[in-house]
């Protein structure tokens, strides 16, 4: 055994050796460390010698970037974020109005991306009918505002709730079905939503569509863009916190090793449904913003192409990676704007990009720019260990 210095358990502070105390309030780990001696340490040393591990395989002992390095990284991020926040103030005239519209749409697509990422990325499910949840949110919001004449905020919340319910319904089915059959059901679910649910004239205005006026105080494009920005930021925060909490860990554990997750006390049924519900909330809220952005919701928008666009923008961006979702979503939302082309080509490019991603570049765009992302996270630009890459429906590790 070479350089490693292990903290010898006996160096820790003394703890009562009374067995009664063990089952009381004392943390067993303390007791074990103090009293059990070096048994475990010896064991791991044995294993290392036997298997020839003589070097730490983790990055734990790496020092990370210097203070200056952190300032550079954080500073750059801050500048980019401030740039995005300030940009709407500088959009003037007609061209500015268009930019504001696209900005709002881009942000809304990011919300959709987060929604898909929770379900397909973290939970490992498949969703080819996701437009159903978005549409439910959109139509709910439109109806509540224009027919029930309630405030936008009520509509917004109810859109999230209705999105959650529509997703949870599918979640119940997903408890019994897996893989290909589930995928088929999600496709069918989306189709039924488009042709049946969204065509009930009394609720959705039938062919003409439902009106969804802008909320008071956010009627201009700039104001609405800022509203979208705020909501997107809030949902990004929620997604971030969820991942770093027991909920996020549980959902991911179920995806990767369901048996083992159950053995750690995770309620599989509850957390699977929770994943669908969270995904549905995001989709519904996004749907509400979508409706009020366009100010008109039509059933025809929620077709197979839309469903697949939602999935592919996340897969192409990089499944499971929040930055990937950001990139993929904005890219597909803004593609027509960037290339000044008819949105006709967007879906085609999207389909080709999807096929390329699935067959060759499995980590999506996020994997391609991984060195840059790593740098921002405090690592170095040079490639170190293999990062794990997610495929829809598959396990995390790709050799």
């Amino acid at each position: 055994m070479t350089e490693r210095r292990l903290r010898r358990p006996s160096a820790r502070k003394a703890v009562s050796a009374d067995p009664e105390a063990v089952t009381g309030e004392v943390d067993p780990a303390d007791v074990v460390a103090e009293l059990a001696g070096d048994a475990a340490v010896e064991l791991s040393e044995e294993i290392e010698e036997f298997e020839g591990v003589d070097q730490v395989s983790a990055d734990a002992s790496e020092s990370g970037p210097s203070a200056g390095g952190w300032i550079a990284r954080r500073g750059l991020i801050a500048i980019m974020v401030l740039g995005v926040i300030a940009a709407p103030l500088f959009y003037r005239g007609d061209a500015g109005q268009t930019k504001l519209t696209w900005m709002a749409i881009g942000l809304i697509y990011i919300i959709f991306g987060l929604s898909i990422n929770v379900l397909v990325g973290y939970a490992g499910q498949i969703s080819l009918g996701h437009q159903a949840f978005v549409g439910v949110g959109a139509f709910t919001s439109a109806y509540i505002v224009s027919v029930s004449h309630a405030s936008f905020w009520v509509a917004f919340v109810l859109a999230g709730v209705s999105g959650a319910i529509s997703a949870a319904l599918l979640g119940f089915i997903a408890l019994r079905l897996k893989g290909l059959f589930l995928a088929l059901i999600t496709l069918a679910y989306g189709t039924v939503a488009q042709f049946t649910l969204f065509n009930v004239s009394s609720l959705t205005g039938g062919g003409a569509g439902a009106r969804a006026p802008r909320p008071a105080g956010f009627t201009s494009n700039m104001q609405f863009a800022y509203l979208c920005m705020a909501v997107t930021a809030a949902l990004l925060y929620i997604d971030w916190r969820m991942v770093r909490s027991k909920v996020g860990r549980a959902i991911f554990a179920i995806r990767e090793n369901e048996l083992s997750a159950a053995s750690f006390g995770i309620n599989i049924t509850a957390y699977k449904l929770l994943a669908f519900t969270v995904s549905g909330v995001f989709a519904g809220l996004g749907g509400s913003l979508f409706a009020h952005q366009q100010q008109l919701v039509q059933a025809s928008s929620f077709d197979f192409t839309f469903a697949l666009t939602l999935v592919l923008m996340v897969v192409v961006g990089g499944l499971g990676s929040r930055v990937g979702v950001l990139i993929g979503s904005t890219f597909f939302a803004l593609f027509p704007l960037i290339f000044n082309a008819i949105s006709l080509y967007t879906a085609l490019i999207g389909a080709v990009a999807l096929l390329l991603t699935l067959t060759r570049f499995q980590g999506g765009i996020a994997q391609q720019i991984a060195p840059i992302l790593r740098w921002f996270g405090g690592g170095s630009l040079r490639k170190q260990r293999r990062s794990h890459v997610m495929q829809p429906g598959g396990e995390g590790v790709r050799p």
């Binding site: 995928a183 069918a188 039924v192 006709l344 085609l348 389909a351």
Partner: protein, 288 residues
């Protein structure tokens, strides 16, 4: 109501045809081919272009269209399906959905988003069967597809190649050892599936208007349900399932109140959920 039964049977054989393609790919690659119906749309558009724009003979247009779509299936298998041999099945399924999307977009870009009429193969007034007017095109479709179904039945049970296809799906490793190449088999299966889809497209599209994605929009969900109802790994089941779904849909259209939009579709969805929850192996499939 008799009208709807007759229509149900005619629609049924179309669902049966598409379902056969789906079952074929499922047996060969253990995946659902979401592009199955779209092969039909492509074939219909190709036939339209050749007949209306290039003024080629109708029959030639149809045959060439189907062959070209077969070629398309062959190419897609080499380019995409091969790369995903060992990928999770859901990944492959998403890929087929991507293919469907790409095909739809290409149709829109090349052919325009509007519907165009594809004339029927046989002009003429319809005949009355059981009190309902059936066009010659519909009769042709029915007869052709029943004939095709019988031919496929013979192919898969009596010919060497057909039996080899079935063997591959049962036991891929063993069949390799015996000398049947899995790669060649994969090419064959996907080409054949594309051909079946193409045949469906030119037969069904004729006599009406075709628009980009029409086969997928109108028939894919029904075809899948038919395949599952018949038994996702049963080829004869596909035709049985097709007829069941055809009848369900059209009778549903008859019985369901018109106030429910897309009623027949909803009914098919209900059947799909029911069968997957209650008897996932379908009517003729083997219990897992």
């Amino acid at each position: 109501m008799k009208a709807f039964i007759v229509l149900g049977l005619i629609d049924g054989v179309v669902y049966g045809l598409l379902a056969t393609g789906l079952v074929l790919v499922y047996k060969g690659a253990r995946v659902f081919n979401f592009a199955q119906a779209e092969f039909g749309t492509v074939a219909a558009f190709l036939a339209y272009w050749m007949f209306e724009k290039q003024h080629m003979p109708y029959w030639l247009s149809d045959v060439l269209a189907v062959l070209l779509v077969g070629l398309l299936g062959f190419i897609l298998e080499r380019l995409i399906v091969r790369k995903l041999f060992n990928a999770p099945r859901v990944t492959m399924l998403v890929a087929t959905a991507g293919i469907a999307l790409a095909l739809i977009q290409l149709e829109i870009i090349i052919g325009g988003a509007n519907a165009v009429p594809l004339p029927p193969a046989i002009q003429g007034i319809g005949v009355s069967i059981l009190g309902v007017i059936v066009t010659p095109q519909q009769i042709l479709t029915f007869v052709a597809l029943v004939g095709l179904g019988l031919a496929m039945g013979y192919f898969f049970s009596r010919t060497d190649l057909g039996l080899a296809v079935l063997a591959t799906s049962q036991e891929p490793v063993a069949t390799e050892l015996v000398g049947i190449g899995t790669r060649k088999m994969s090419s064959f299966i996907w080409t054949m599936a594309a051909v079946l889809g193409g045949i469906g497209g030119v037969l069904i599209g004729a006599g009406g208007a075709i628009f980009p994605s029409f086969m997928t929009t109108s028939y894919l969900l029904g075809a899948f349900t038919a395949a599952v109802v018949g038994g996702i790994d049963s080829l004869p089941g596909a035709f049985v399932g097709g007829v069941v779904i055809g009848l369900t849909r059209d009778l549903g259209g008859y019985f369901l109140p018109k106030t429910i939009p897309g009623g027949p579709n909803l009914l098919v969805f209900a059947v799909l959920v029911l069968i997957l929850l209650v008897r996932p192996q379908g009517l003729l499939g083997a219990k897992a």
